[in-house]
Amino acid sequence: MAKDKETVSSKPVGPKGPHGNAGPKPEKAKHFWKTVRRLASYMSAYIWGIIIVLILAILASIFQVMTPKVLGQATTEIYKGFMTGVAQQKAGIQVDQFPIDFEAIKRIIFVVFLMYMASALFSFIQQFVMTRVSQRTVYKLRRDLKSKMRRLPISYYDQHSNGDIMSRAINDMDNIAGTLQQSITQVVTSTVTFVGVLWMMFSISWKLTLIALATIPLSLIVVGLVAPSSQKFFARQQKSLGLLNNQVEENYAGHVVVKSFNHEKDAIAKFDAENEILYKASWKAQMISGIIMPLMTLINNLGYVLIAMFGGIQVANGGIALGNIQAFLQYMNQFSQPITQLANLANTIQATVASAERIFEVIDEPEMNDDPVDIPDIQTDDKVILDHMDFGYEGKPLLMQDYNLNVKPGEMIAIVGPTGAGKTTVINLLERFYEVKGGSIKLDGRDIRNMTRDDVRSHYAMVLQDTWLFTGTIYDNLKYSNQDASHEEIIAAAKAAHVDSFVRQLPDGYDTVLNEEASNISQGQRQLITIARAFVADPEILILDEATSSVDTRTEVHIQHAMQRLLKNRTSFVVAHRLSTIRDADKIIVMNEGSIVETGNHDELMAKDGFYADLYNSQFAGNVAM
């Protein structure tokens, strides 16, 4: 009967604001019902579990609704005995003990106890089942998303930020898990409770029920007036918090610059201004969301008092049993709860469906095309042939048109050009990360679109500037390029790539687990591991990006040695930065602004006196004396 529910209901207000009414407006789904049906199909395997849960939820709510009235009967019994006793006393009869019917009370209490037990048991079973349903459903969603990722073309990865995909894989998944676990049953319980409570109230007294109902418009007014302005302030707080975070990040990241330009005061002034805005928005948001509860309590209390007054008068007149009033007062409290709960649920469910939609959006992306092309195999000694090839990125003008190149086994092809010239495009095409727009790329005389991608890639190994290694041991990372490699092969590769010596100095040797930030080994050492990994693959064709990242001189020498060894007796494509590589190359592909501008060997290109000659001269103009 406690009316002051504020103590229980005010949730901690996190930086994102509370869920539901007081929080920011949820994102809306575009195809609500379609997405709901699709999400439901993920749960269809658990349909019986869900049906049981729903039945139990209905039963539990019915019991929950009935108990106050049944327990009220006990109060009525007590009151009856008490009144009889008082009457007897008034009549002058000596009464030691009021004639309360303890047997009846025992019966009532027993029934109530059973109902409570059943209600508790049912609600536990509901949670028990729903936990499994929701976790398994999200498990499947996650699995499908991950397996989708393998079928998406590289262009998808290039066009979408990792942050965006991650937020779908994490935040949106979490949203769904949370909602499935809580909200489905809550919708049912809230609805049943609302209907049930209303029913019980009517069954006690229709007059009192009307009084109770009269308070609903009042609560609607409060919710309608206060909630939007609270949302407004929360949105303002969120925005200001975001701006402030950016300022902090920016100034901390640029600490050196801020200091060396004497800009501390300026930065602080800007920060203080934003901080003040945040303060104003956040205390108001806090305040307004904080007063919703007390206001609702007040309205509830008004109803409560009215019921107590009218009900009291009726009891006094004998029109209604005291236990019923007691029960009715409890119903008053239960009555407003499902309304606010349902309002909150509407928002949560909206947000969840929007989350599901974002995940399905990825799952529905077009996949890689595996259709073979009608280009016959040819007999040739050439390893790789670029045959009248056209290429351009989706929706952009062609970068390469009618390009031809024949690569003999064992040849080294250097790719050169200024920063941002698009040197990786060639790698993208060779590895079939992107498909040509016209013409053909042939490997051993066969168009690569007539081979599986795995087949194409089995001929290649890559060493890129981006030294991607997965979080696992060094040994497993070396084995990554060829899971069938023997222990001896791996150690031999590690030795050839100068990896063995530094790995042996690590406390855990080859079992050292590389972490994501790679703080336990240096950048140069990571590069060496990627070279060793390519050794383990033992490919026919090698793709190498020899950009000198920031490494110390000794490691640099090691990297060069290792690369030289790796290149020996293999066909190779090298994104070249070193003079020696360029000069040694059998052919040089010169790129600028995404397109191939010249092709030929060093001498031919120098003789041409074009872009390459210009690039070459500028590179060494500062120190011709060398």
Partner: protein
């Protein structure tokens, strides 16, 4: 926690909010009392007038409760958010005035988290405290007292109920907390694998390891899901159990109450009131148990914040700073030794050189050899251990950093731009620079071309961190920004390596020709021989030691390290 709160929390607001809260508690404790009076004196005796009177009293008390709680919320929100504001502001100031030594002790993202999220945690806990947690014990005592007054003997029911509640809540926490911690790790692992699948997509596909990745993810997904099911099953027990205990309490009270009433030791209305007090007591207990969850979390945040405040500045401020000489630009290192805070080994040993106006010093050496360390001594980011660093003939230790920074213009290794426009970034070092000056600097930096291509040119927006520009463009803008500033010494820390050879050359040629630069000292840190070759002096550094100083031709002849560097960059033939 108290340390960081003290002096930043408005005591009057706190006191006020607690006062309001006490009013609120008393009022809500008084309500059930009126209810029981209505039953005892109104309903039981059939006195309609009494009921209406009491009802009015109830409405009055309800309104009072609401007013008090609005007052409480009003003050509590201001106090908590105000605390957050002051904490953030103090942290930001403290961090901005950090010297490098202090800044190095944390990393950027950790400092950012401390300034934002950790403060948010504290703020939230304070608001919870002011609104609920302090209320719980008051409510608990008040309700117990009231319950005892209504019926003393019946309070013994709490001797059973409260321990039962503690066992249930404690038990659930005991089992669930370790699982929650494990879950955090498993979530991290799941996210990690998914993210690696994104960042490494090319390598994964090139090596045909898609299946391997799928399996790796499946294992993590299995592991996570099983653990999650376990955790939530345990947590699922809590609500039904707690509800059962509360309902059981009601039943118990009814049963015992019936006997007391029969014995005429209790009035009917008091039974109803007692039930209300019982619920208030149990609720207070539940809220108190929240403290055990929230306080550790908040105190972890508080400790992290306190760590920042506790860092003392290593650079001594100069009591009577000397005036830096204008006009005669020079830079001298006289036998400088330097050691990082707490390090055993010297990071720089015996650095000696003197550069006069119009001269360029280039510094070359491998990664970790001490190039950046050396130039960080120029603007007093760190102080030398022995020896002196002199700018325009004055020891930097006699100058305050603000004056030094006026004479030194730096381009750090990592190009950092600030949100705003190109112009606002260019004015960073000289508020009153004209557009002509800016364009001139952009020309030298080889940035005029792409800036002219932008629709709004100098007013083109720059996003946070300059993310709307490529790495090379950012670097060139950072160089231009440093050139706009009037200084005696211009320092380029490896700023040219992101540029291609041709741009690098054009930039250096333009730099040499500039009038302003002719009057100052230029320091270029580089990795490429071509970048440093035409400097007046080249300082070769290896493992913190100055192993050579001279021109390109001299060093090429007789310096082993320099020769090695040449060898590693321009190799004729092969030696595979």
């Amino acid at each position: 926690m108290f340390k960081i709160v003290r002096g930043r929390l408005n005591i009057w607001q706190v006191a006020g909010s607690i006062l309001f809260m006490i009013v609120q508690v008393i009022a809500s404790l008084y309500l059930p009392n009126i209810t029981s009076d209505i039953v005892n004196n109104g309903i039981a005796k059939g006195e309609t007038g009494y009921i209406i009177n009491a009802g009015m009293k109830m409405i009055f008390v309800s309104v009072l409760t609401v007013l008090a709680s609005v007052g409480n919320v009003f003050l509590a929100s201001q106090a908590s958010q105000g605390l957050g504001q002051r904490l953030r502001s103090d942290l930001f100031r403290k961090v901005l005035y950090f010297s490098h030594d202090e800044f190095d002790a944390f990393d950027t993202s950790s400092l950012t988290t401390r300034t934002t999220n950790d403060v948010m945690q504290i703020q939230n806990v304070i608001v919870m405290m002011l609104r609920m947690m302090i209320m719980a014990p008051i409510m608990l005592i008040g309700a117990s007292f009231m319950a005892y007054q209504k019926n003393g003997p019946m309070t013994k029911i709490f001797l059973i109920v409260i321990p039962a509640l503690i066992i249930v809540v404690g038990g659930v926490m005991y089992f669930a907390v370790p699982l929650f911690k494990a879950m955090q790790k498993k979530t991290d692992r799941l996210n990690l694998i998914f993210r690696e699948g994104l960042t490494g997509v090319r390598v994964i596909r090139a090596f045909r390891q898609d299946t391997f990745e799928q399996n790796r993810f499946k294992d993590a997904n299995d592991d996570y899901t099983n653990n999650a099911i376990k955790v939530y099953t345990i947590v699922a027990m809590m609500v039904p159990f707690v509800t059962l205990i509360m309902s059981g309490t009601n039943i118990g009270i009814t049963w015992l109450g019936a006997h007391y009433i029969a014995n005429q030791t209790m009035q009917v209305g008091n039974l109803i009131a007692f039930m209300t007090y019982a619920m208030q007591i149990l609720m207070s207990f539940m809220i108190l148990s929240l403290i055990f969850v929230l306080i550790p979390r908040a105190s972890a945040s508080a400790a992290r914040i306190q760590e920042v405040f506790a860092k003392e500045s290593q650079i001594d401020t100069v009591a009577k700073p000397a005036k830096i000489k204008q006009g005669e630009a020079s830079l001298e290192f006289d036998d400088v030794n330097f050691r990082y805070l707490g390090a055993e080994k010297l990071a720089l040993t015996n650095i000696n050189f003197k550069m006069d106006k119009g001269q360029t010093l280039a510094i070359i050496g491998g990664t970790g050899s001490g190039k950046t360390t050396l130039i960080n001594l120029i603007p007093r980011f760190y102080d030398s251990e022995t020896g002196t660093v002199m700018i325009n003939g004055t020891d930097v230790k006699a100058l305050n950093t603000e004056d030094i920074n006026r004479q030194v213009s730096m381009v750090p290794q990592k190009a950092v731009l600030f949100k705003g426009t190109i112009r606002s970034n260019m004015l960073y070092g000289k508020d009153d620079a004209t557009d002509d000056e800016i364009w001139h600097a952009l020309e030298i930096a080889q940035a005029d071309g792409f800036v002219k291509d932008l629709e709004k040119q100098l007013d083109a927006p720059v996003e946070q961190g300059g993310d709307n520009f490529s790495g090379g463009q950012k670097q060139r803008l950072a160089i231009a920004r440093a050139l706009v500033k009037d200084a005696s010494i211009y320092v380029f820390d490896d700023s040219f390596s992101a540029l291609d050879f041709k741009t690098d050359l054009n930039l250096r040629t333009a730099l040499k020709a500039d009038e302003k630069i002719k009057d100052s000292v230029v320091v270029i840190v580089g990795q490429r021989i071509s970048t440093v070759a035409d400097a007046d002096e080249i300082l070769v550094i290896d493992d913190g030691n100055m192993v050579g100083l001279g021109t390109h031709d001299e060093l090429k002849e007789n310096n082993k390290t320099y020769q090695e560097i040449i060898e590693s960059q321009i190799r004729e033939g092969n030696d595979g």
